[in-house]
Subunit: 251 residues, 4 copies
Amino acid sequence: MVGVVEQAFRDLVIANRILAHQGVVDAYGHVSMRHPDNPEHFLLSRSRSPELVEEGDILEFTLDGKVVGTDKRPPYLERFIHGAIMEARPEINSVIHAHAEDTLPFGIVKNTETPLRPVIHSGSFLGAKIPIWDIHDHFGDTNLLVGNVAQGRSLAKHLGDGNVALMACHGFAAAGRSIIEVVRISVYLPRNARVMLNARQLGTDLRYLTEGEIAARNSGYSPYSSETWRAWEYWANQAGVGKMLHKPDGV
Amino acid sequence: MVGVVEQAFRDLVIANRILAHQGVVDAYGHVSMRHPDNPEHFLLSRSRSPELVEEGDILEFTLDGKVVGTDKRPPYLERFIHGAIMEARPEINSVIHAHAEDTLPFGIVKNTETPLRPVIHSGSFLGAKIPIWDIHDHFGDTNLLVGNVAQGRSLAKHLGDGNVALMACHGFAAAGRSIIEVVRISVYLPRNARVMLNARQLGTDLRYLTEGEIAARNSGYSPYSSETWRAWEYWANQAGVGKMLHKPDGV
Amino acid sequence: MVGVVEQAFRDLVIANRILAHQGVVDAYGHVSMRHPDNPEHFLLSRSRSPELVEEGDILEFTLDGKVVGTDKRPPYLERFIHGAIMEARPEINSVIHAHAEDTLPFGIVKNTETPLRPVIHSGSFLGAKIPIWDIHDHFGDTNLLVGNVAQGRSLAKHLGDGNVALMACHGFAAAGRSIIEVVRISVYLPRNARVMLNARQLGTDLRYLTEGEIAARNSGYSPYSSETWRAWEYWANQAGVGKMLHKPDGV
Amino acid sequence: MVGVVEQAFRDLVIANRILAHQGVVDAYGHVSMRHPDNPEHFLLSRSRSPELVEEGDILEFTLDGKVVGTDKRPPYLERFIHGAIMEARPEINSVIHAHAEDTLPFGIVKNTETPLRPVIHSGSFLGAKIPIWDIHDHFGDTNLLVGNVAQGRSLAKHLGDGNVALMACHGFAAAGRSIIEVVRISVYLPRNARVMLNARQLGTDLRYLTEGEIAARNSGYSPYSSETWRAWEYWANQAGVGKMLHKPDGV
């Protein structure tokens, strides 16, 4: 029998490996979970490339990004993204920050007639509005990294009640009710972006998902449905961590 | 000696693995076969990612999507696509539904001067007309999934006597006289789409296959020709299931 | 000590595997060599996907595409491409026909202001002129395959004294003085095409290689230079057939 | 305890393997290091594809490209790139020359309104100005290779005090203060190019990194920071040479 916290550690490792295998993260990017026993804390690896993350790498943080305990291993510089979003959004239990290449063009172009929006059914989870947060608008010339609580909160405010915010010249932040949900968002985000970019070459009048379609899909949300589990199982197996899976009852 | 039904199960597993390896399906998408002994039934995996499908996962369905027997494992939500097309088209013995990324742009753009058509010889099997079915035109705001018999029949009607229908913001359905044929269609469909998208960047006056060329290629159809087998053998080996192959006599 | 003919068989297998690994061929496409002891014959695999070709698959053909000997295994339908080019071009010792995806857009678009030409130094071997042969111009509606001597000769005539001819809606044929040369042409042909397609998105005024540059590079041709061998060795190792290599003296 | 020179040899092997695994180099391209004990010499493999380079392949050169010692194995033709840049730039300790495909379009198009510039935070290391050096402007029709000291110095002069120069119809040269830095530049250069090319399809008004942002990021430079090491460790592991790593103290 695996305990809730132990399973959270395993799920974080699985998520790290899936994101690396799917090309959402490379040497950089990270995924967090709210602590199952303490909503004021979150779990996140020490500064390490996601493909290499193991359970022993996971540290516990307060929402303002301080390590809980005496572990001296360097944390990710941008841990403030995770804490600030969880602070602002009690229903959010998992956050991903990454630089997935195919999301970047949409955060760089100004005044395009085709901003990023869901165009495929698996992209419905991105939500109808995908804001672009530009750190330069708020903090001027920086190294572009979200390196303190104020910057994290600015990003969280910009995200509002959405699921995804693009970060200009940098990447994106995604927020989910479960780690499975946010991994799924992050896998389909670059795909939705590529499809839209390519469709854009064929014409500018695109068939976006309607608000009603997005709502219809979202209303069917379940953290552990059979359909949701199918992808999680597949991705974990592809990433070589299928043995770490723990299938919930009734799926 | 392998029986016809046993070989059908093996071919379905091979097809699942080929489609996964070729990137036509990922966590989602599915392939069916009409039951060799009962044209009113079809064979389709339970709800599982194609790369993981084994013979023991395959269920038998009536054409209106009911599981035959007492197996309680969850089926694919969209099994109605398969039954409805086989119901409408007696000559069709195998159906694929997938979300292959590079087909999606052509189902999203409206009023393009370059709708998807065969532009490469291996794309001739797509047929001269590739309709786009938009579930919203028929059923309003939905979760975009083909979740009942009526939706399946609407799609089948739109497909008409064609081989491929694009599904707006979702994917495609392909129909073949044999499982080898429909797998081949599904492998070359995204390639034809990519080639056309890229050619479109060079100019809009494209050299499409003529109706006569499509007919000439189609008239040479044979479910087990030497050329057809060559690709099936190659793809199966690439997907790691070469040992499941059973080469017909005379190929 | 490996004999010349034995080495030719090995080199053909190496070339098949390299072309498959580099994505120049898939289930289809083929590479031939003029017979080292008889310039009126050529060597080519039986009908088999290149990645699976072994020495025992290689057959001997007359230049008009007849199998020499009693082997009954099906040959490639399009073997006439090879014979016709070798018939017309005594200096050519190796021919490749393939459908490499990224070459196809340039054979489909009509009247583009940017026809395929060398734009990268490794593309110089394509030659200054890359004709497009459209079988429809000569033979009307066909299955698009080069299925007889007349069609092979039409293509060979169109190729003229060039190294590469695009085949509309189908692929390309490449001719080289050695098998290493024609493999190299075929590996860099899709790359040159991709680079040109992408550059074309940035602007239409492109910096092509000059005739003088193409001549300067070509004048340095040596079938077994240190630079040439470097790529052959690398590609063979990547394709898993490094052990079949036989390094010539003095390289 | 590994000595400085021994570690330099290892780091060169690691860099070769990373660049090959990341697709920055293929059969061609090379990476050098200034000799740790003699700034007038540099270390570079003999003529061999980077993926195959081992410690025993590394030769020592004078800055004008002469082999030090009696080793008769053929050197790279274009070794003059490395020596000329190190000669002109005492602070530079490592140079890469490669043909990374996605950098090439920007070196081919003339008069584009969107020349290559940093558009992603990891591209800041490219520097604000990325000149294009066209060998034809200086030496007329050549084989496009940098084959002597004069050509190397012309390129180095064009690079000026920058980090990257594109080489028209050929590739790029990158210069770094450490081998980790120049590998990082070379990995992110093609990514920055792809992102810019794709953003360019969405609109021409792009959000480039500001000079202030580039300066802010550069001021944080450290050859062995925790963040820098993270990528080096990840890339080396991916390339199969994780065991050759030697982690500096305090990282």
